[in-house]
């Protein structure tokens, strides 16, 4: 209690006291306003003493204090937008907890729309979906956006198991703009935002919703509203802490551990032939063989060691338990004249790969001040630093531990023997490895010496002034800045394969952006009509600078400095700059609260466009109507709304893309080379445009117990400003011109329901399901195809090599005994998902609540790099032991298929058959099993054979929370406390036995880190 008193001294509350009579006794009522459905705090609810002028607001934890000279019979009126108003009698017993139910008329919900303008959801003619910030602070991911996975229809977030990788965010198939408090943070990776500072995520799904952001809003937007100080007079503190551990994998490559390193069943230590091909060596049956770690006998010979699968658990031994901890403390306070909030978040992550760690510090401060009767000021600033001295290198290559430890090594090598990775006596000079021939790197050597650093400082913030000029007329002026600096040092140590002399490089990047705008809003009611109009102008300045330098070899190993370079090198640098100006206007017209019309228009100028065409206009229109207001609907339908929107958005280009300039190339013997660009710039390049239609409906049934939101969208991206490929016999490979069109189409369904709604037990469920595909709609006049894609085709085809097939579908085997590869590449499948979906559940029982969510992506395919190289390196479980032994014994292998006995196939260059006189017979041409594997599945494999279905369903998140009972809370300094057990990535089902397909959205995978299950706890205290 003392503690609380101290805090009051430090942060004196501005208490407003209203005297209503001399006889009354002044007392304070404390309480908390919660959402009846999910017990989440309601911020900004008004608590008013009935028939008086005394009132208070709830803060971000839902707490309020109302001081008043209460009399017997007084009651409190509680109102909050979107909730049913309540009146309760003032009674003894404190604090009071008031549960508010979502207003039955529903969708008086207020949502945050473009430029941070709040609108009632029912008025919108387009789809907006919101997620409360609280939903993302318990079971955490290092990057805040990962928490949105599976929660929003049409939003696909691909999460990588790789340490410090940025999730791939796609909204209706394209990358949305990230907006914080109405200010775009272009190019944001979301690392700079702490989940603890987020009040609300508002996902604007299409161009109609985000048209006011200009061209950057064309792909929709994820808008973040940060927490503000609120208006509760007393300062409130919040502490939130989450710690999770990576406990065991949910997916890792399954490997054969029966055969060791070698080739053709033979292993010879130090002989490249027997060390490069991976696990094609002798059976790990305990035979004695000289190995890399054999002790040396006095006579100089090496002592053979047993050949056994000591390394069967290499991955488990190499990877360690990762830890993620996040702690946040925040304080907020406010009154009618101002508010303030400060928050500090510290994140630390220890990666599963040795010697990887990541720190993140975020400081956020926001405040508002009423300067005078008409003028109010708001300001926010967010500082963030991310720093890691080393994150792992991922992808097929010699820096990947998967490459050295899994793909190209047999289980005879035990990674634990490699921990001391320097050759004794040659520390810092020569790595020790199982591969004496020197093609692979010791995974510990890479982890500790081949380091990739990343240090990023980010500041963004804004100042905004709102001037209430007259009743219904406001002017808001705002300036926002966003700036970041990124420093990336990278070290290749001495004796690294294949950079034997080592290397050191630094990359410095700096970005600065400012956005200033002025916005006038006016509203007026005229009879049955209400008009809300906005007009504004904006200016944007953006610039970036980069310098990159690298040594060419290091003169002194470990001296990581440019001065150490053995040979002179030239650094590279660039700077880019652009400016854009825009003016815009919008109007919302409301007829009798049942028909709503929205209009927007914007005119932009961009320095990235040719001067003749540097300005462009684009409009949007949206319409919605609430049917139940004027049509008698069946009783089961409590609410029905239809909506439609049409928007067009124009866009500029990246800076300097319409200037033709020489490209510097490699220096030959110190002679600089310049080459002429391969693109012809059409002098009349115009801005590109996208046009989108979106229609849908919102329905609520059974007294609001069930809700349904349906959307169909059809966005035409085009005519685009694009590079039309041309025959390079013209001397050029493409023309920058206008004309190409692609179309994105899809459906989105959101269902929410409350199957159980009892006093003590409540279960809410929310389901989202969506589809999205992109098609090629039109090309330049005369063009009908783009490579293998014809107009009308899906854009996500996987194009690769295939077998040659006989007319009856059998594989044709060539005169070398191997499956023949079709020289003409084909469409092998599609990488995009047929649909994605998620289910979230909230179950509340007394003081316990359980949250769990599943999500799925279904129908996409991928060419798996993992699959291919597991076959190549002899560790794939599909490799037949009997065929392998047969090869070792010198036996041959006959591929199942047919051979051509006579005749020829003649095709034109498109693969169209001109004549086919081939006759076939069952194949009897021999090859050997190794060649068959390598040329079909493995190193020179056919793409068709590496296609994997990458559908999955995942138990994404489980949070079990215990809320400390009120009776106990009342006796402490706390207002509220909860403890949660949290889990993420707990269960996965996917056809692949190798990859967690979660992170992959394109046509191939990339040797990801095994996917781990995360378990931990969260503590949340408010006081």
């Amino acid at each position: 209690m003392n503690y609380k008193r101290c805090l009051r001294i430090i942060f004196p509350a501005l208490v407003c006291v209203y005297w209503t009579g001399l006889h009354a006794q002044t007392t304070s009522i404390r309480g908390r306003i919660l959402n009846q459905n999910d017990r989440s705090a309601i911020n900004g609810a008004t608590i008013r003493v009935k028939n008086s002028r005394a009132y208070a607001f709830s803060d971000q934890q839902g707490n309020f204090v109302l001081t008043y000279a209460f009399r017997r019979g007084d009651s409190l009126e509680i109102t909050s937008v979107g909730y049913a108003p309540q009146t309760i009698a003032v009674a003894g017993g404190q604090p009071v907890t008031i549960y508010m139910s979502v207003e039955s008329k529903a969708l008086t919900d207020v949502v945050v729309t473009a430029l941070g303008i709040k609108k009632e959801k029912k008025r919108l003619g387009y789809a907006v979906q919101e997620v409360k910030g609280d939903a993302l602070v318990k079971a955490r991911e290092p990057n805040v956006v990962a928490g949105l996975t599976g929660k929003v229809a049409g939003l696909r977030i691909a999460n990588s198991a790789d340490f410090f990788s940025t999730p791939d965010i796609k909204l209706r198939g394209v990358t949305p703009l990230i907006v914080v408090d109405g200010v775009p943070l272009e190019g944001s990776t979301m690392w700079e935002i702490s989940a603890d500072d987020v009040d609300n995520y508002s996902i604007l799904k299409g161009p109609a919703a985000s048209a006011l952001y200009g061209w950057r809003g064309v792909n929709g937007a994820i808008q973040i509203t940060t927490k503000k100080g609120g208006r509760s007079h007393e300062p409130s503190f919040s502490f939130n802490s989450t710690t999770t551990f990576d406990l065991g994998t949910i997916q890792e490559p399954k490997l054969q551990n029966e055969y060791g390193t070698g080739y053709d069943g033979i292993y010879k230590q130090g002989d490249p032939t027997y060390e490069y091909w991976g696990a094609w060596g002798p059976k790990l049956d305990g035979r004695l063989l000289v190995q890399y770690n054999s002790p040396v006998n006095p006579d100089g010979t090496k002592k053979p060691l047993p050949w056994i699968p000591r390394g069967a658990k290499n991955l488990q031994h190499f990877l360690r338990t990762g830890i993620l901890t996040t702690d946040n403390i925040s304080v907020s306070a406010g009154n009618e004249n101002g508010n303030f909030r400060a928050s500090l978040t510290q994140m630390y992550q220890k990666g599963v790969v040795p010697n990887t760690r990541l720190g993140g510090t975020t400081f956020n401060m926001s405040g508002g001040l009423k300067l005078n009767k008409r003028l109010s000021l708001d300001a926010d600033i967010n500082y963030n630093k991310f720093y890691t001295p080393n994150y792992p290198s991922i992808g097929y290559g010699r820096a990947s531990f998967i490459y050295g430890l899994v793909l190209w090594t047999g289980a005879n090598v035990d990674v634990r023997d490699l921990r001391n990775y320097w050759v004794p006596g040659q520390e810092g000079l020569q790595q020790m490895n199982y591969d004496d021939a020197g093609d692979y790197n010791n995974p510990y050597f890479v982890a500790y010496e081949q380091t990739n650093g990343y240090y990023k400082d980010n500041i963004f913030g804004n100042v905004s002034l709102k001037y209430n000029v007259a009743k219904n007329l406001n002017i808001t002026a705002r300036t926002a800045i966003n700036s970041n600096g990124l420093y990336q040092p990278k070290v290749y140590p001495q004796s690294y394969n294949h950079i034997p002399q080592g290397n050191y490089s630094e990359d410095w990047y700096n970005m600065f952006e400012s956005n200033s705008d002025v916005l006038i809003d006016y509203s007026k009611k005229m009879g049955d009509f209400e008009i809300k109009a906005n007009a504004g102008a904006s200016a944007r300045n953006w610039s970036e600078r980069n310098i990159f330098g690298s040594t060419d070899g290091l003169s002194v190993p470990g001296w990581n400095n440019f001065a150490s370079s053995i040979n002179p090198t030239t650094p590279t640098n660039y700077k880019n700059q652009l400016q854009e100006y825009g003016t815009y206007a919008s109007a919302d017209i409301d007829y009798k609260d049942l028909l709503f019309l929205g209009l927007t228009g914007r005119y932009d100028w961009s320095s990235t466009l040719p001067q003749a065409h540097d300005g462009y206009f684009y409009p949007s229109v949206s319409l919605s109507t609430i049917l139940n207001e004027y049509i008698d609907l069946p009783k089961a339908i409590s609410y029905a709304k239809l909506r439609a929107a049409l928007a067009r958005v124009g866009a500029g280009m990246t800076p300097y893309s319409f200037t033709t300039a020489y490209i510097p190339g490699v220096r030959w013997n110190d002679n600089l080379t310049l080459s002429y660009p391969a693109t012809i710039i059409s002098p009349n390049v115009k801005p590109s445009f996208s046009t989108g239609i979106e229609t849908g409906g919102e329905f609520r049934f059974l007294n609001n117990r069930v809700g349904l939101d349906l959307t169909y969208f059809n966005f035409v991206d085009g005519p685009q400003t694009y590079y039309q490929a041309i025959s390079n016999t013209s001397g050029f490979t493409s023309v920058l011109t206008n004309g190409r069109k692609t179309v994105r189409k899809g459906y989105e369904v959101v269902v929410d329901a409350t199957p159980v709604n009892k006093q003590d037990l409540k279960w809410n469920i929310a389901i989202n399901w969506s589809t999205y595909q992109q098609y090629l709609k039109a090309l330049a006049p005369g063009e009908t195809n783009e490579g293998l894609l014809n107009v009308g085709d899906r854009m996500d085809a996987i194009i690769g090599t295939d077998y040659m097939y006989a007319p009856d579908g059998q594989i044709i085997v060539g005169s070398d005994g191997l499956p023949q590869v079709d020289p003409i590449k084909k469409k092998l499948g599609y990488y995009n998902d047929s649909w994605i979906g998620g289910i979230t559940n909230n179950v509340n029982y007394k003081n316990l609540s359980l949250y769990f969510s599943f999500d799925a992506r279904v129908g996409g395919q991928i060419i798996s790099t993992y699959e291919r190289y597991l076959w190549a390196g002899g560790r794939h479980l599909g490799i037949s032991n009997s065929d392998r032994e047969n090869w070792y014994a010198g036996g041959s292998y006959v591929v199942k298929g047919v051979k051509v006995v006579s005749g020829t196939l003649q095709r034109d260059g498109n693969g169209k058959v001109i004549s086919d006189t081939r006759k076939f017979a069952t194949n009897d041409v021999k090859t050997d099993y190794f060649d068959y594997v390598q040329n079909t599945f493995g190193y020179w494999g056919i793409d068709r054979a590496a296609i994997v279905n990458r559908s999955y369903i995942k138990l994404r998140e489980v949070v079990l929370t215990y809320h400390l009972p009120k009776t106990i809370i009342a006796r402490t300094f706390m207002k509220d406390a909860s403890l949660s057990l949290v889990g993420r990535n707990l269960w996965l089902s996917t056809p692949s036995s190798v990859i967690d397909p979660d992170q992959f959205t394109g046509p191939s995978d990339n040797l990801q880190t095994p996917a781990f299950r995360e378990l931990g706890f969260n503590l949340n205290v408010n006081f």
Binding site: A477, V518, Q611, Y662, S727, G787, D931
Partner: protein, 497 residues
Amino acid sequence: MKKNFRNIFYMCAVLAALGTGCTKFKDLTLNPNQPTQSVPSLILTGVEADAFQFNPILGYETRASQYLVSDNSQQADQSYQWDTTDYWRYYNTMRNVEQMRIEAERTSAPVYAVLAKFFKAYCFAELSKQVGDIPMSQALQGKSGDYTPAYDPQETVMDSCLMLLEQANAEIRSLIQSGNPPVISGDIIYNGDLTKWQKLFNSYRLRLLIDLSKKVADNVLNVKTQFATIFNDPGQYPVFTSNSDAAIFHWYDKDGDRYPRFYIPANMDYYRFGSTYTQYMRAYNDPRMMVVGVMTQVAADAGKQPSDITAYNGLSSGLSISDIYNKKDSASALNVARYSTPTGEPMIIVGYPELCFNIAEAINRGWIAGDANAYYQSGIRASMRFYQENGGQITDAQISAYLTQPQVQYNGDLNNILIQKYLSFFNNSGWEGFYNILRTGVPALAVGPGNGNNGKIPDRWMYPQTEYTYNAQNVKAAIQRQFGGSDDRNGVLWIYQ
């Protein structure tokens, strides 16, 4: 009122950033990172690197011509299953050649325009030898809006290339003789030596004329006459007279300039010498073998000396991969020490040995009069000296001894010349070695289970898929004209018909 002014002042302060940094749009359109103009010399360096840089050792050329065999997996080169040409990239090289010409005009440096003529002749001719008909007369006109050039018949292409070389020779001669010869900068081949460039123009022209040996009857090209004119007038048409005149591409121990095989000795272990090559090395007791290869494992185990030619051997390219793998100990591997250094082995683009053999062949064919044996011997000597000059242990005594062997003597048989020419083409001159085999059938290439092209050696490459997408009408017309509509690797080119 006063308050209102103050409010307005605050508003303006917040918006101050609206106006700051207001650079004129026009200034922001200029790209600060790249130049819009260049001097021709900076383009020349890149053109030379693009046009002349071949993939040493591991390029397809060495296996297609059966100098080497690979022991791991069936690749398109060794199994003769290749499809489209990658020489189409020469059109990108020629975009820069054309730009070099434009910048030469702008900066009044006509010598670069002369070099541009040579590079066009070189790129078009080498490209045509891969596929047949190609766009030439209408090609490279993208800037004026022609994106779909028609294909010229191979005969026209060859004729135009020879003409370009004739012009280049005349123009460079007048520049040399002008009394104030121009300077060429950025030249990584000849370091600006105009006379060597002139020799290259004419020596290369002789290569093209020899490539056309089956077309002696063609009265557009007049192959014989052209050859004789050049050969008989060295004042007007100087040609190479030693290895130092030859066009040779060098690698440097500098970032980005290193030998492509530097520090990946492991990959070279997959390769063994092919018996098509080693049969002559063994039969002729050839000292070049000791430079390029090492003893077989079998010979080393038997205690043979490196100087003993019987310690070297090769494997037939017709063998299946598993056979090659199983027999690899009985074949010579590459001399990894030679081919994995930062500067590797300089690569001959158009060499002096080739010129000697071309002249010897022309004499043998009766196109010109002269001492074929003398050119034959010069060619052998020049090839040996090339290794001698580039780190190979070959003594003058060894060269003389080699030349005196009866089996090496020129006996008037064209095959003597063609085989020596083949031996001199190891790991250099791009695909020229293979083209000579296509043209003459010498030496006979091995065919066996390892061949995936139904026992045939392909005669050409297919046109790239992009042509069927972006220039379909013209490529289909060319295919129809040459091969009756079928674009495959076994169609015989006009120059070989």
